[in-house]
Amino acid sequence: MAEHYYQPEIETMPREQMKELQDEKLRVQVQHVWDNVPYYRKKMEEKGVSPEDIHGQEDLKKLPFLSKADLREAYPYGLMGKPLKDCVRIQSTSGTTGKRVVAFYTQHDLDLWEDCCARAICAAGGTDEDVCQVSYGYGLFTGGPGLNGGSHKVGSLTIPTSSGNTERQIMFIQDLSATILCCTPSYAAYLGETMAEMGLKPEDIPLKAGIFGAEAWSEEMRRDIENTLGIKAYDIYGLTELSGPGVAFECSEQNGMHINEDHFIAEIIDPETEEVLPEGSEGELVFTAIDKEAFPMMRYRTRDICSLSRKPCSCGRTHVRMAKPKGRSDDMLIIRGVNVFPSQIETVLLNNGYPANYQIIVDRVRNTDTLDVQVEMTPEMFTDNIGEIEERQKTLVEGLKSMLGLKAKVSLVAPKTIARSEGKAVRVIDKRKI
């Protein structure tokens, strides 16, 4: 099958030409940010950099970084590059008010995001002949809207099922012959298991490809999904700060994700020293969005640890490939697609009168993430009344649910049982084999 591109002239653009395009866009973007985003301009001034110092991507390292802390500080409007009247949409990350990221989009920003998603769908073999079922959540979460827009651009018939209601998902796949499925990998695995339980064989399922992202998944999980659904499963990467899914996507090679370099310049840095690392090194992924208008992220630290490769790809795309992120340089956990910081759990415990002595155990049971918060029983908390203890346990579960948007299990454990290394408690045990 001949490789299918959405924008072949860009996706296969020779490196030299792409670099010129990036450098030009970068110069314009730095000026745009300097003129319109006082927050970032101040950061540049503090570093003694002005737009004249930035000639091309070799000068990127002169620019200051942006991190999640900046987003919090500047919340909600402080990093906008366009007045509100030019914006047409917001999207937001999961998480609490304190950690929530609200990203703004002009129509231009939405178009470039949807183009990126359209490229991902085409790379998975999608055309206007396809029926694309988008089972990512719709709403503030970027998954649904992003792939929905991409599917429209490709011209596929789009089924906006959103997440949940598994029976209905399967009914639409069957009755409307969906050929492409977009959702989180864990939901794809769950759909596959459910269909197998219903007695459906891979050859009975019309799907031929899936585009799965928003959470970490392994090669083993990919094979499982591919076998049960009888499809080819493609990875997709993105984050709300930069648009949403589609910042990078897999091609038929399934060996790293092509970064949409005409929109995003990627760097790999040492998360400790913040120094830019040579090509091929493993480190923290940093992105500069070079033509987003409303929310122009400059040198945004993703906290994802991975490496980049410029080895030629057989698919014909010339854009750099990023390896699947191996982990994170902060303590953020992604549980069932939701961003969770241990500090949020600590806050809930303290608010409910528990000591901040806890352990978070994350596991994956039948392809679904589980979150178990273990709390040490203290003399102050203990009572002879079981009902009272259980009631407090329930209150804690509810508190966690409203803070994280996730159902967690709360286990009470005996004092001093939470493992400590060198006097410091180990807060997170991630047993997931990804």
Partner: protein, 144 residues
Amino acid sequence: MSVKQISVFLENRPGTLYNLTKTLADGGIDLRAMSVAETKDFGIARMIVDDLDKAATVLKEAEFVNSLMPVIAVAVDDVKGGLARVLDEFAKADVNVEYMYSALASKATGQAYMIMRVTDTEAAEKTLSDMNVRLVRQEELAEM
């Protein structure tokens, strides 16, 4: 005349109850009565011991979370319907028994000792006194 019971928090998994009884044994504590209530992931062991202060110290040193709880020890006639008779009067007096377990019976007196946690200790005591049912003292339990 309530007696003091020690309640201990235990995780609901193999070995925790053993650790508790071993700790008490090593501390020279004799159990006079005991019950274990469990939920899915934790349990509470409730005990009457021969030496309350010593037991509390031993448990604290071994880092068992515990609390002292007033309960009543009722000497119930060891005959058919003996317990029912007491509970009938409790019901009439609107005294609720939250939990109950038995201590070692005393052959000599022909009575069984029931340890009860009730909502209203005073009302329970009055009911028992009216019925001429004896309450057992802490020392008596210790020497049993």
